[in-house]
Amino acid sequence: MELTKLSTTQLQKERRRIGMIFQHFNLLSMATVRDNIAFPLELAKMPKTAVKERVDELLKLVGLEQHADKYPAQLSGGQKQRVGIARALANNPDVLLCDEATSALDPQTTNAILSLLLDINQKLGITILLITHEMHVIRAICDRVAVIDGGDIVEMGDVLDVFLKPQHSITKDFVSQIADSFDPRELIDTRSGRLIKINYVGEITYEPLLFNAVKSTSVQFTILQGTVSRMKNTPYGQLVIEFIGNDQEIDTVLAELRAKGLEVGDLK
Protein backbone atom coordinates (compact mmCIF):
# COMPACT_ATOMS: atom_id res chain seq x y z
CA MET A 1 0.00 0.00 0.00
CA GLU A 2 1.20 3.47 -0.87
CA LEU A 3 0.89 5.28 2.49
CA THR A 4 1.94 8.66 1.15
CA LYS A 5 -1.11 8.76 -1.15
CA LEU A 6 -3.72 8.13 1.57
CA SER A 7 -6.11 10.79 2.85
CA THR A 8 -5.63 12.09 6.40
CA THR A 9 -8.30 9.88 7.95
CA GLN A 10 -7.24 6.81 5.97
CA LEU A 11 -3.66 7.42 7.04
CA GLN A 12 -4.73 7.81 10.68
CA LYS A 13 -6.44 4.43 10.48
CA GLU A 14 -3.57 2.74 8.68
CA ARG A 15 -1.07 4.09 11.20
CA ARG A 16 -2.79 2.15 13.97
CA ARG A 17 -1.52 -1.01 12.29
CA ILE A 18 2.05 0.20 12.56
CA GLY A 19 3.60 0.38 16.02
CA MET A 20 6.43 2.85 16.40
CA ILE A 21 9.12 3.37 19.01
CA PHE A 22 11.53 6.28 19.14
CA GLN A 23 15.07 7.13 20.12
CA HIS A 24 13.89 9.58 22.78
CA PHE A 25 10.86 7.48 23.77
CA ASN A 26 8.40 10.38 23.26
CA LEU A 27 6.15 9.46 26.17
CA LEU A 28 3.51 11.75 27.63
CA SER A 29 5.35 13.23 30.59
CA MET A 30 2.10 14.15 32.32
CA ALA A 31 0.60 10.66 32.11
CA THR A 32 1.42 7.53 34.10
CA VAL A 33 2.96 4.44 32.54
CA ARG A 34 -0.51 2.90 32.48
CA ASP A 35 -2.08 5.92 30.79
CA ASN A 36 0.74 6.13 28.27
CA ILE A 37 0.13 2.54 27.21
CA ALA A 38 -3.64 3.10 27.19
CA PHE A 39 -3.28 6.16 24.93
CA PRO A 40 -3.36 4.37 21.53
CA LEU A 41 -6.21 2.16 22.75
CA GLU A 42 -8.25 5.20 23.74
CA LEU A 43 -7.51 6.74 20.35
CA ALA A 44 -8.90 3.56 18.80
CA LYS A 45 -12.02 3.98 21.01
CA MET A 46 -11.61 0.69 22.84
CA PRO A 47 -14.07 0.29 25.79
CA LYS A 48 -12.63 1.11 29.22
CA THR A 49 -12.65 -2.39 30.72
CA ALA A 50 -10.99 -3.85 27.64
CA VAL A 51 -8.34 -1.10 27.81
CA LYS A 52 -7.48 -1.99 31.39
CA GLU A 53 -7.20 -5.67 30.54
CA ARG A 54 -5.00 -5.03 27.52
CA VAL A 55 -2.76 -2.61 29.43
CA ASP A 56 -2.24 -5.18 32.20
CA GLU A 57 -1.28 -7.73 29.56
CA LEU A 58 1.22 -5.34 27.97
CA LEU A 59 2.71 -4.30 31.31
CA LYS A 60 3.40 -7.94 31.99
CA LEU A 61 4.88 -8.50 28.53
CA VAL A 62 7.45 -5.73 28.99
CA GLY A 63 7.98 -6.44 32.70
CA LEU A 64 6.74 -3.14 34.13
CA GLU A 65 3.87 -4.34 36.38
CA GLN A 66 5.58 -2.71 39.37
CA HIS A 67 5.81 0.67 37.70
CA ALA A 68 2.29 1.03 36.29
CA ASP A 69 1.45 4.16 38.27
CA LYS A 70 4.77 5.96 37.93
CA TYR A 71 5.41 8.89 35.64
CA PRO A 72 8.08 8.72 32.89
CA ALA A 73 10.40 11.07 34.81
CA GLN A 74 10.63 8.42 37.54
CA LEU A 75 11.84 5.72 35.13
CA SER A 76 15.25 4.79 33.71
CA GLY A 77 15.94 4.98 29.97
CA GLY A 78 15.44 1.27 29.50
CA GLN A 79 12.15 1.34 31.41
CA LYS A 80 10.96 4.28 29.34
CA GLN A 81 11.70 2.37 26.16
CA ARG A 82 9.76 -0.60 27.53
CA VAL A 83 6.77 1.71 27.98
CA GLY A 84 7.33 2.85 24.39
CA ILE A 85 7.34 -0.76 23.20
CA ALA A 86 4.20 -1.63 25.17
CA ARG A 87 2.47 1.44 23.76
CA ALA A 88 3.54 0.55 20.22
CA LEU A 89 2.21 -3.01 20.59
CA ALA A 90 -1.10 -1.99 22.16
CA ASN A 91 -3.16 -2.10 18.97
CA ASN A 92 -1.65 -5.40 17.79
CA PRO A 93 0.24 -3.87 14.88
CA ASP A 94 1.49 -5.85 11.88
CA VAL A 95 4.81 -4.07 11.92
CA LEU A 96 6.88 -2.57 14.72
CA LEU A 97 8.94 0.38 13.51
CA CYS A 98 11.98 1.16 15.68
CA ASP A 99 13.53 4.52 14.92
CA GLU A 100 17.01 4.40 16.50
CA ALA A 101 15.28 2.79 19.45
CA THR A 102 18.46 1.84 21.29
CA SER A 103 20.72 4.72 20.28
CA ALA A 104 20.10 6.67 23.51
CA LEU A 105 20.64 3.67 25.78
CA ASP A 106 23.74 2.26 27.45
CA PRO A 107 25.11 -1.07 26.15
CA GLN A 108 23.57 -3.26 28.84
CA THR A 109 20.15 -1.67 28.50
CA THR A 110 20.48 -1.91 24.72
CA ASN A 111 20.97 -5.66 25.02
CA ALA A 112 17.99 -6.01 27.33
CA ILE A 113 15.77 -4.06 24.94
CA LEU A 114 17.09 -6.06 21.96
CA SER A 115 16.28 -9.36 23.59
CA LEU A 116 12.80 -8.06 24.40
CA LEU A 117 12.37 -7.12 20.72
CA LEU A 118 13.61 -10.51 19.59
CA ASP A 119 11.18 -12.15 22.02
CA ILE A 120 8.29 -10.09 20.64
CA ASN A 121 9.31 -10.97 17.10
CA GLN A 122 9.36 -14.67 17.85
CA LYS A 123 6.42 -14.96 20.26
CA LEU A 124 3.99 -12.54 18.67
CA GLY A 125 5.17 -12.96 15.10
CA ILE A 126 5.38 -9.20 14.53
CA THR A 127 7.73 -8.00 11.83
CA ILE A 128 10.24 -5.54 13.25
CA LEU A 129 11.72 -2.84 11.08
CA LEU A 130 14.74 -1.41 12.82
CA ILE A 131 16.46 1.78 11.80
CA THR A 132 19.92 2.06 13.31
CA HIS A 133 23.52 3.04 12.77
CA GLU A 134 24.69 0.51 15.37
CA MET A 135 26.00 -2.55 13.52
CA HIS A 136 26.06 -4.75 16.59
CA VAL A 137 22.30 -4.22 16.94
CA ILE A 138 21.80 -5.59 13.43
CA ARG A 139 24.15 -8.47 14.08
CA ALA A 140 22.32 -9.34 17.29
CA ILE A 141 18.71 -9.54 16.12
CA CYS A 142 18.21 -8.89 12.41
CA ASP A 143 17.56 -11.36 9.61
CA ARG A 144 17.71 -9.04 6.66
CA VAL A 145 19.34 -5.68 6.21
CA ALA A 146 19.11 -2.81 3.76
CA VAL A 147 21.79 -0.13 3.60
CA ILE A 148 20.51 3.36 2.90
CA ASP A 149 22.76 6.11 1.61
CA GLY A 150 21.35 9.55 0.80
CA GLY A 151 17.80 8.22 0.84
CA ASP A 152 18.43 5.33 -1.59
CA ILE A 153 18.77 1.67 -0.76
CA VAL A 154 22.25 0.78 -2.01
CA GLU A 155 22.42 -2.77 -0.78
CA MET A 156 19.96 -5.29 0.58
CA GLY A 157 19.99 -8.93 1.59
CA ASP A 158 20.44 -11.39 4.43
CA VAL A 159 22.49 -9.91 7.23
CA LEU A 160 25.07 -12.67 6.87
CA ASP A 161 25.59 -12.05 3.15
CA VAL A 162 25.73 -8.29 3.41
CA PHE A 163 28.02 -8.25 6.43
CA LEU A 164 30.43 -10.91 5.22
CA LYS A 165 30.56 -9.69 1.63
CA PRO A 166 29.75 -6.00 1.62
CA GLN A 167 29.62 -4.60 -1.93
CA HIS A 168 28.97 -0.89 -1.61
CA SER A 169 31.65 1.31 -0.07
CA ILE A 170 29.27 2.67 2.55
CA THR A 171 28.38 -0.86 3.59
CA LYS A 172 32.07 -1.71 3.90
CA ASP A 173 32.44 1.36 6.04
CA PHE A 174 29.61 0.33 8.32
CA VAL A 175 30.67 -3.27 8.56
CA SER A 176 34.18 -2.27 9.54
CA GLN A 177 32.60 -0.87 12.74
CA ILE A 178 32.24 -4.39 14.06
CA ALA A 179 34.86 -6.26 12.03
CA ASP A 180 38.57 -5.69 12.28
CA SER A 181 39.19 -2.74 10.05
CA PHE A 182 42.76 -3.82 9.44
CA ASP A 183 43.46 -4.34 5.74
CA PRO A 184 45.19 -7.71 5.18
CA ARG A 185 46.67 -6.51 1.88
CA GLU A 186 49.23 -4.58 3.88
CA LEU A 187 50.66 -7.95 4.88
CA ILE A 188 51.35 -9.15 1.37
CA ASP A 189 54.74 -7.49 0.98
CA THR A 190 56.05 -8.54 4.35
CA ARG A 191 55.16 -12.22 4.26
CA SER A 192 56.91 -14.89 2.22
CA GLY A 193 54.22 -17.62 2.27
CA ARG A 194 50.93 -17.79 0.36
CA LEU A 195 48.23 -15.55 1.82
CA ILE A 196 44.78 -17.07 1.62
CA LYS A 197 41.48 -15.58 2.67
CA ILE A 198 38.93 -18.04 4.04
CA ASN A 199 35.26 -17.42 4.78
CA TYR A 200 32.90 -19.91 6.33
CA VAL A 201 29.45 -19.98 7.82
CA GLY A 202 27.45 -22.40 9.91
CA GLU A 203 28.31 -25.36 12.12
CA ILE A 204 31.64 -26.03 10.32
CA THR A 205 32.90 -22.95 12.17
CA TYR A 206 33.55 -25.14 15.18
CA GLU A 207 35.30 -28.03 13.40
CA PRO A 208 39.11 -28.47 13.29
CA LEU A 209 39.14 -28.11 9.51
CA LEU A 210 42.47 -26.39 9.08
CA PHE A 211 44.33 -28.85 11.19
CA ASN A 212 42.71 -31.83 9.44
CA ALA A 213 43.56 -30.40 6.03
CA VAL A 214 47.27 -29.94 6.70
CA LYS A 215 48.04 -32.85 8.98
CA SER A 216 48.87 -35.36 6.20
CA THR A 217 51.09 -32.80 4.41
CA SER A 218 54.19 -30.87 5.33
CA VAL A 219 52.31 -27.55 4.97
CA GLN A 220 52.40 -25.22 7.97
CA PHE A 221 50.05 -22.33 8.59
CA THR A 222 49.80 -19.13 10.60
CA ILE A 223 46.61 -17.18 11.23
CA LEU A 224 47.46 -13.56 10.47
CA GLN A 225 44.09 -12.02 11.03
CA GLY A 226 40.57 -13.18 11.67
CA THR A 227 37.16 -13.04 13.21
CA VAL A 228 35.17 -15.96 14.51
CA SER A 229 31.78 -14.87 15.78
CA ARG A 230 28.02 -15.19 15.46
CA MET A 231 25.37 -13.20 13.68
CA LYS A 232 22.06 -13.65 15.44
CA ASN A 233 22.31 -17.47 15.76
CA THR A 234 24.64 -18.30 12.88
CA PRO A 235 28.34 -18.82 13.57
CA TYR A 236 30.79 -17.57 10.97
CA GLY A 237 34.49 -17.02 10.49
CA GLN A 238 36.70 -14.85 8.33
CA LEU A 239 40.41 -15.61 8.39
CA VAL A 240 43.55 -14.53 6.60
CA ILE A 241 46.05 -17.38 6.70
CA GLU A 242 49.62 -17.70 5.56
CA PHE A 243 50.44 -21.19 4.24
CA ILE A 244 54.10 -22.19 4.17
CA GLY A 245 55.19 -25.19 2.11
CA ASN A 246 55.37 -26.21 -1.53
CA ASP A 247 52.71 -24.90 -3.87
CA GLN A 248 51.40 -28.27 -4.94
CA GLU A 249 50.75 -29.38 -1.41
CA ILE A 250 49.15 -26.06 -0.54
CA ASP A 251 46.81 -26.50 -3.54
CA THR A 252 45.77 -29.90 -2.21
CA VAL A 253 45.04 -28.39 1.19
CA LEU A 254 42.97 -25.60 -0.38
CA ALA A 255 41.04 -28.07 -2.53
CA GLU A 256 40.20 -30.06 0.58
CA LEU A 257 38.97 -26.93 2.38
CA ARG A 258 36.82 -26.02 -0.61
CA ALA A 259 35.37 -29.50 -0.59
CA LYS A 260 34.25 -28.95 3.01
CA GLY A 261 32.27 -25.90 1.87
CA LEU A 262 34.67 -23.13 2.78
CA GLU A 263 35.14 -20.15 0.57
CA VAL A 264 38.82 -19.95 -0.24
CA GLY A 265 40.71 -17.35 -2.24
CA ASP A 266 44.26 -16.13 -2.81
CA LEU A 267 44.95 -12.66 -1.56
CA LYS A 268 47.79 -12.05 -4.01
Partner: protein, 225 residues
Protein backbone atom coordinates in the same frame (compact mmCIF):
# COMPACT_ATOMS: atom_id res chain seq x y z
CA UNK B 1 5.54 61.53 62.60
CA UNK B 2 4.05 63.78 59.95
CA UNK B 3 2.53 60.79 58.24
CA UNK B 4 0.97 59.53 61.45
CA UNK B 5 -0.77 62.83 62.04
CA UNK B 6 -2.29 62.80 58.56
CA UNK B 7 -3.77 59.36 58.84
CA UNK B 8 -7.19 59.24 60.32
CA UNK B 9 -8.13 55.60 60.66
CA UNK B 10 -11.71 56.54 61.48
CA UNK B 11 -12.12 57.31 57.76
CA UNK B 12 -11.92 53.62 57.03
CA UNK B 13 -15.48 52.43 56.64
CA UNK B 14 -15.43 48.68 56.57
CA UNK B 15 -19.05 48.53 55.48
CA UNK B 16 -17.82 50.10 52.21
CA UNK B 17 -14.63 48.13 51.98
CA UNK B 18 -16.13 44.63 52.15
CA UNK B 19 -18.61 45.15 49.30
CA UNK B 20 -15.78 46.73 47.28
CA UNK B 21 -13.58 43.70 47.94
CA UNK B 22 -16.42 41.45 46.88
CA UNK B 23 -16.87 43.48 43.70
CA UNK B 24 -13.18 43.21 42.90
CA UNK B 25 -13.30 39.45 43.42
CA UNK B 26 -16.42 39.13 41.27
CA UNK B 27 -14.91 41.21 38.46
CA UNK B 28 -11.68 39.28 38.59
CA UNK B 29 -13.34 35.87 38.82
CA UNK B 30 -15.86 36.42 36.03
CA UNK B 31 -13.38 38.08 33.70
CA UNK B 32 -10.78 35.39 34.44
CA UNK B 33 -13.27 32.69 33.48
CA UNK B 34 -14.08 34.30 30.13
CA UNK B 35 -10.46 35.27 29.55
CA UNK B 36 -9.32 31.68 30.02
CA UNK B 37 -11.97 30.29 27.68
CA UNK B 38 -11.39 32.91 24.99
CA UNK B 39 -7.61 33.02 25.46
CA UNK B 40 -7.26 29.25 25.26
CA UNK B 41 -9.21 29.23 22.03
CA UNK B 42 -7.18 32.04 20.46
CA UNK B 43 -3.91 30.66 21.83
CA UNK B 44 -4.57 27.20 20.41
CA UNK B 45 -5.48 28.63 17.00
CA UNK B 46 -2.37 30.84 17.07
CA UNK B 47 -0.22 27.84 17.86
CA UNK B 48 -1.78 25.47 15.35
CA UNK B 49 -1.71 27.93 12.47
CA UNK B 50 1.86 29.06 13.09
CA UNK B 51 4.81 27.89 11.02
CA UNK B 52 5.49 24.15 10.87
CA UNK B 53 2.53 23.30 13.07
CA UNK B 54 -0.43 21.01 12.50
CA UNK B 55 -2.67 23.54 10.73
CA UNK B 56 -0.05 25.85 9.26
CA UNK B 57 -2.01 28.83 7.83
CA UNK B 58 0.20 31.90 7.44
CA UNK B 59 -2.70 34.22 6.57
CA UNK B 60 -4.83 33.19 9.54
CA UNK B 61 -1.85 33.38 11.86
CA UNK B 62 -0.83 36.79 10.57
CA UNK B 63 -4.32 38.24 10.96
CA UNK B 64 -4.95 36.80 14.42
CA UNK B 65 -1.51 37.84 15.54
CA UNK B 66 -2.15 41.38 14.33
CA UNK B 67 -5.45 41.63 16.23
CA UNK B 68 -3.79 40.30 19.38
CA UNK B 69 -0.92 42.76 19.04
CA UNK B 70 -3.23 45.71 18.51
CA UNK B 71 -5.32 44.86 21.56
CA UNK B 72 -2.18 44.36 23.61
CA UNK B 73 -0.61 47.63 22.58
CA UNK B 74 -3.57 49.80 23.67
CA UNK B 75 -3.20 50.77 27.36
CA UNK B 76 -5.99 49.30 29.43
CA UNK B 77 -7.45 52.62 30.56
CA UNK B 78 -7.80 53.74 26.96
CA UNK B 79 -9.10 50.37 25.74
CA UNK B 80 -11.75 50.54 28.39
CA UNK B 81 -13.00 53.87 27.04
CA UNK B 82 -12.59 52.82 23.40
CA UNK B 83 -14.84 49.79 23.66
CA UNK B 84 -17.55 51.48 25.73
CA UNK B 85 -20.13 51.27 22.91
CA UNK B 86 -19.45 47.55 22.62
CA UNK B 87 -19.74 47.15 26.38
CA UNK B 88 -23.03 49.05 26.41
CA UNK B 89 -24.51 46.79 23.73
CA UNK B 90 -23.27 43.63 25.41
CA UNK B 91 -24.07 44.36 29.05
CA UNK B 92 -26.57 47.25 28.89
CA UNK B 93 -24.27 49.43 30.99
CA UNK B 94 -20.68 50.66 31.07
CA UNK B 95 -20.66 51.07 34.83
CA UNK B 96 -20.13 48.87 37.84
CA UNK B 97 -19.08 45.24 37.94
CA UNK B 98 -21.04 44.34 34.80
CA UNK B 99 -19.67 47.20 32.75
CA UNK B 100 -16.11 46.29 33.69
CA UNK B 101 -16.09 42.64 32.66
CA UNK B 102 -16.07 43.11 28.85
CA UNK B 103 -13.08 45.49 28.78
CA UNK B 104 -11.22 43.25 31.24
CA UNK B 105 -11.76 40.22 29.01
CA UNK B 106 -10.90 42.11 25.81
CA UNK B 107 -7.67 43.30 27.40
CA UNK B 108 -6.65 40.09 29.14
CA UNK B 109 -7.66 37.45 26.58
CA UNK B 110 -5.03 38.46 23.96
CA UNK B 111 -2.42 38.56 26.72
CA UNK B 112 -3.38 35.11 27.95
CA UNK B 113 -3.60 33.83 24.35
CA UNK B 114 0.10 34.64 23.88
CA UNK B 115 0.94 32.82 27.10
CA UNK B 116 -1.02 29.81 25.84
CA UNK B 117 0.80 29.92 22.49
CA UNK B 118 4.17 29.94 24.27
CA UNK B 119 3.15 27.11 26.58
CA UNK B 120 2.04 24.93 23.69
CA UNK B 121 5.23 25.66 21.79
CA UNK B 122 7.18 24.18 24.68
CA UNK B 123 5.47 20.80 24.40
CA UNK B 124 7.98 18.20 23.22
CA UNK B 125 7.60 17.80 19.44
CA UNK B 126 8.47 14.13 19.77
CA UNK B 127 5.32 13.46 21.76
CA UNK B 128 3.21 15.05 19.05
CA UNK B 129 5.05 12.94 16.46
CA UNK B 130 4.39 9.82 18.52
CA UNK B 131 0.68 10.66 18.78
CA UNK B 132 0.52 11.18 15.02
CA UNK B 133 2.25 7.87 14.47
CA UNK B 134 -0.44 6.24 16.63
CA UNK B 135 -3.11 7.63 14.35
CA UNK B 136 -4.26 10.54 16.51
CA UNK B 137 -6.38 13.19 14.79
CA UNK B 138 -5.49 16.87 15.21
CA UNK B 139 -8.30 17.27 17.70
CA UNK B 140 -6.96 14.26 19.67
CA UNK B 141 -3.54 15.87 19.68
CA UNK B 142 -4.87 19.20 20.98
CA UNK B 143 -7.04 17.64 23.64
CA UNK B 144 -5.07 14.63 24.77
CA UNK B 145 -1.50 15.72 24.12
CA UNK B 146 -1.04 19.50 23.97
CA UNK B 147 -3.43 20.53 26.74
CA UNK B 148 -2.28 17.67 28.96
CA UNK B 149 1.44 18.20 28.47
CA UNK B 150 1.21 21.97 28.82
CA UNK B 151 -0.96 21.85 31.92
CA UNK B 152 1.53 23.13 34.55
CA UNK B 153 2.65 25.87 32.20
CA UNK B 154 -0.97 26.83 31.42
CA UNK B 155 -1.79 27.03 35.13
CA UNK B 156 1.21 29.31 35.63
CA UNK B 157 -0.12 31.43 32.75
CA UNK B 158 -3.59 31.62 34.33
CA UNK B 159 -1.99 32.78 37.60
CA UNK B 160 -0.10 35.58 35.83
CA UNK B 161 -3.29 36.58 34.03
CA UNK B 162 -5.29 36.59 37.28
CA UNK B 163 -2.76 38.92 38.92
CA UNK B 164 -2.83 41.19 35.88
CA UNK B 165 -6.62 41.25 36.06
CA UNK B 166 -6.47 42.40 39.70
CA UNK B 167 -4.47 45.44 38.69
CA UNK B 168 -6.79 46.05 35.72
CA UNK B 169 -9.85 45.98 38.00
CA UNK B 170 -8.22 48.67 40.12
CA UNK B 171 -7.77 50.79 37.00
CA UNK B 172 -11.38 50.17 36.05
CA UNK B 173 -12.19 52.28 39.11
CA UNK B 174 -11.26 55.35 37.07
CA UNK B 175 -14.37 55.11 34.94
CA UNK B 176 -16.71 53.99 37.66
CA UNK B 177 -15.96 50.31 37.58
CA UNK B 178 -16.45 49.82 41.28
CA UNK B 179 -14.35 47.63 43.53
CA UNK B 180 -11.28 48.39 45.61
CA UNK B 181 -9.65 50.56 42.96
CA UNK B 182 -12.71 52.75 42.80
CA UNK B 183 -12.67 53.10 46.58
CA UNK B 184 -9.01 54.01 46.68
CA UNK B 185 -9.57 56.59 44.00
CA UNK B 186 -12.68 58.23 45.41
CA UNK B 187 -11.78 58.28 49.10
CA UNK B 188 -8.03 57.93 49.09
CA UNK B 189 -7.28 60.31 46.24
CA UNK B 190 -10.19 62.68 45.82
CA UNK B 191 -10.92 63.08 49.53
CA UNK B 192 -7.34 62.72 50.74
CA UNK B 193 -8.24 59.86 53.05
CA UNK B 194 -4.85 58.16 53.12
CA UNK B 195 -6.05 55.47 55.50
CA UNK B 196 -8.58 54.20 52.94
CA UNK B 197 -5.84 54.15 50.33
CA UNK B 198 -3.59 52.12 52.58
CA UNK B 199 -6.28 49.59 53.45
CA UNK B 200 -7.29 49.03 49.83
CA UNK B 201 -3.70 48.67 48.69
CA UNK B 202 -3.04 46.22 51.51
CA UNK B 203 -6.09 44.19 50.47
CA UNK B 204 -4.93 44.17 46.85
CA UNK B 205 -1.48 42.98 47.94
CA UNK B 206 -3.02 40.18 50.02
CA UNK B 207 -5.22 39.21 47.07
CA UNK B 208 -2.31 39.06 44.64
CA UNK B 209 -0.22 37.14 47.13
CA UNK B 210 -2.97 34.57 47.68
CA UNK B 211 -3.50 34.16 43.93
CA UNK B 212 0.20 33.63 43.31
CA UNK B 213 0.50 31.12 46.14
CA UNK B 214 -2.54 29.18 44.96
CA UNK B 215 -1.19 29.16 41.38
CA UNK B 216 2.27 28.02 42.43
CA UNK B 217 0.76 25.29 44.56
CA UNK B 218 -1.28 23.99 41.62
CA UNK B 219 1.71 24.10 39.28
CA UNK B 220 3.70 22.02 41.77
CA UNK B 221 0.85 19.59 42.16
CA UNK B 222 0.59 18.99 38.44
CA UNK B 223 4.29 18.94 37.62
CA UNK B 224 5.66 15.55 36.69
CA UNK B 225 9.20 16.42 35.74
Amino acid sequence: MMLKQNIDWSDVRWEDIWPATKDTLTMMGASLLFTVILGLLIGIILFLTSRKQLLEQPAVYWFLSLVVNILRSVPFVILMILIMPFTKVLMGTTLGVQGTIPPLVVAAAPFFARLVETSLREVDKGVIEAAQAMGASRWDIVRRVLLLEARPSLIAGITITAVTLVSYTAMAGVIGGGGLGDLALRYGYQRFQLSVMIVTVALLIVLVQLLQMAGDHLVRRFSRK
